[in-house]
């Protein structure tokens, strides 16, 4: 199809409307006008100012939306904050919400570092849940420590395996991993749906869910007053491990290499295919571990609504954190706070919880635009 465009002879008549010169936006690129051009150096304060502007704009838009439905923005923001950090219990619950998000955020961050667009965090999370339940179902009678280790390993392996379907196709056939990982999310959801309707279904219920797991498989909790479980510690350790991996190991160096310049990396002798496979396996394993933590820490039975968009939110968290493993922790806690605070906000002010999605979407859109805008400047040219 490209032939139709390229093999026209130069003597062909030009399109009489002068092509793009009539675009209003292209006026900006005309000489003698204001000109948008790339900055040669982007200083931190350029980024900082545009980021602040984006956040101010986001708050203004959200406040406007709250005003439109006749509520007070100040009250709602206060309720949101108090719900998330107002008491010791609510702060701990925020961390509970942040736990799986740290792991799926890391999963996305490490893959994106390598330039591999793993959008399949949601499916790999399900794979982790299924791996955990598989072990419990098969060897539930084993002593608790051994059972935990086996469940953890199988959760990670299942997540890694499901991610490897996409990366295998990418390395072998060059199929776009964005598209395959999105498709695989649905495939595993229906596999789980089948299992929950049949072989795994709890015999005493009509619902699509498994039996409740035995008490000795619950992840221990830190404080009696909250639901905060060991999964949070696992998530923090995982963040440190990913940080170490990316910064201090050969694989990490190669991951950053193929992410920033694939061609140069190939010439340097980095085996791009192998590194891609390894990265996706690690990414999938992290998302799988998130499933392990949620199942054993909170839900204790497999249901179809166990993920609630945790995989997709992880992608956003990774980007807000600029793909930095430790930044992921901060971003995940912020998102956990939004989720947790919104329940209190709905209860106290009557503003629908769904406002959180609007906050997330608006903020992310504006922050992304700001990050790009900070790389440009407007200058009058002669």
């Amino acid at each position: 199809m490209t032939d139709q465009i390229t093999d026209r002879a130069p003597s062909d008549p030009q399109p009489e409307d002068g092509g793009g010169r009539r675009d209003p936006l292209s006026m900006l690129f005309q000489p003698g006008a204001w000109r948008i051009e790339k900055r040669l150096v982007v200083r931190p304060w350029h980024e900082f100012i545009t980021l602040i502007a984006a956040l101010v704009a986001a708050v203004a838009i959200i406040a406007g939306l709250v005003l439109v439905i006749g509520k007070s923005p100040a009250d709602s923001f206060a309720a949101l904050y108090n719900g998330a950090f107002g008491t010791r219990e609510s702060t701990l619950e925020t961390l509970v919400q942040a736990t799986p998000l740290i792991l799926t955020g890391l999963a996305a961050a490490i893959a994106f570092r390598a330039g591999v667009w793993n959008i399949g965090g949601e499916g790999q999370f399900f794979a982790g849940v299924m791996g955990t339940w598989f072990v419990y179902d098969l060897w539930g009678g084993l002593p608790a420590p051994l059972l935990f280790v086996l469940m953890f390993i199988f959760a990670a392996l299942a997540g890694a395996a499901w991610a490897s379907v996409a990366s295998g196709l990418l390395v072998r056939y060059g199929t776009n991993e964005i598209l395959t990982t999105v498709m695989l999310n649905f495939v595993i959801l229906y596999i789980l749906s089948y299992l929950l309707a049949g072989p795994w279904q709890s015999p005493d219920t009509f619902y699509y869910q498994t039996q409740r797991m035995a008490d000795n498989t619950y992840l221990p909790r830190f404080f009696s007053v909250s639901r905060l479980h060991w999964g949070f510690a696992i998530a923090l350790l995982a963040a440190l491990a990913v940080y170490w991996l990316i910064r201090r190991t050969t694989l990490g160096y190669e991951i950053r290499g193929i992410g920033s310049n694939m061609v140069a990396s190939r010439y340097k002798g980095i085996r791009v295919g192998t590194v891609t496979l390894a990265t996706m396996a690690i990414s999938g394993a992290l998302a799988g571990i998130a499933g392990f933590g949620e199942l054993l820490g909170l839900h204790h039975r497999v249901q179809l609504d166990i993920a609630e968009g945790i995989g997709f939110t992880g992608i956003i968290i990774a980007l807000v954190a600029r793909l930095h493993p430790l930044g992921v922790i901060v971003a995940a806690i912020l998102f956990g706070a939004l989720v947790n605070g919104s329940t209190a906000m709905q209860y106290e002010t009557g503003i629908p919880k769904a406002l959180v999605f609007v906050i997330e979407g608006t903020t992310l859109a504006l922050v992304l635009i700001a990050a790009m805008v900070s790389r440009y400047r407007i200058r009058k040219t002669g």
Partner: protein, 303 residues
């Protein structure tokens, strides 16, 4: 098994196939045009939800389905305009922008719905009249006919008009277009917003065409299926039609299976479209029609 092959069931599956395929076809045709210009819009799910809600809200307020459809188109256009602003003008990564707008679209629709209809604990859920069937022998809403008509329209537009050729060129080789003076920005804006309008209409089919209701997960993955159909159809209008009908047929059969006593896992049929899409992606790779610059933002003067 025999009970599945009675004529009543088969006729039922036939109409159900067309009915289920309609929103998929509308959204997929819009996405096809959008992707042809080199912009991958992952926010179909959110855009369709916006359309479903905007259409429902306006139809409920005005009592006019036509006004509802216009609102649905505008709702889709609104979200896709933000998409175009982010990806074409600000050159934000398209995958990320799509996911962000997905959340925004879902969030706006849920938020408005809950604050208008479920405020202060009222659970009085309104319904609107649904679209009528045009003729007695065609027992499904007339938006289906529009969707079918759009297939040749989109095909002619993409393959038989100068603007369509230029639009596809922008999706393949923006640098060459720029050199020849073909405006990239305006064409991508047009394509993205067209995709948004179509997705909005697709969403409104679900609220105004079949249920007369709006509820938060009304789209329930159909936006992603529409994306899959574009890939399955190898970025060709005719194959997008085939894909929509095939996916609609699988879903219709699945529903018939669930209603009957036949003991076949219906989830298999639901998963099949996604598996088929991956298979198509692998097998079409040597004659893939994918726009070569899909997801790659164009920066003038850079390589």
């Amino acid at each position: 098994m025999e009970e599945l092959f009675t004529s009543a069931v088969i006729v039922g599956i036939f109409w159900a196939t067309l009915r289920i395929a309609t929103p998929l076809l509308l959204a997929a045709l819009g996405e096809l045009v959008c992707e042809s210009s080199g912009i991958l819009n992952l926010s179909l799910e959110g855009t369709m939800t916006m359309g479903a809600f905007a259409g429902f809200y306006v139809a409920n307020e005005t009592g006019s389905i036509l006004a509802g459809l216009v609102a649905a188109g505008l709702g889709g256009a609104f979200l896709s305009l933000i998409m175009a602003l982010m990806t074409v003008t600000a050159k934000v990564n398209q995958v990320v922008a799509g996911l962000a707008l997905n959340i925004l679209g879902l969030g706006l629709a849920f938020f408005w719905y809950r604050s208008i209809y479920e405020a202060e604990g009222s659970i009085d859920i309104p319904t609107v009249d649904t679209m009528e069937a045009p003729w007695e022998f065609f027992p499904i809403p007339w938006l289906t006919i529009l969707a079918l008509v759009m297939v040749p329209v989109v095909w002619v537009f993409l393959y038989r008009t100068k603007y369509g050729l230029e639009l596809r060129s922008v999706g393949h080789n923006p640098e060459a277009c720029d050199m020849r003076g073909v405006g990239i920005i305006s064409r991508q804006y047009v394509a993205v917003v067209f995709g948004g309008v179509m997705a909005g209409l697709a969403g409104s089919f679900l609220s105004l065409g079949s249920t007369g209701l709006f509820f938060p997960d009304i789209i329930s993955g159909r936006g992603w299926i529409a994306l899959a159909i574009v890939i399955f159809g190898n970025w060709r209008a005719t194959w997008v039609l085939v894909g929509s009908l095939l996916f609609g047929f699988l879903e219709a059969t699945q529903l018939a299976l669930q209603a009957s006593d036949v003991d076949l896992p219906y989830q298999l049929l639901l998963a099949l479209p996604f598996v088929l899409t991956i298979v198509a992606l692998v097998f079409n790779r040597s004659r893939s029609n994918v726009p070569l610059s899909l997801t790659i933002p164009y920066h003038r003067g850079e390589r």
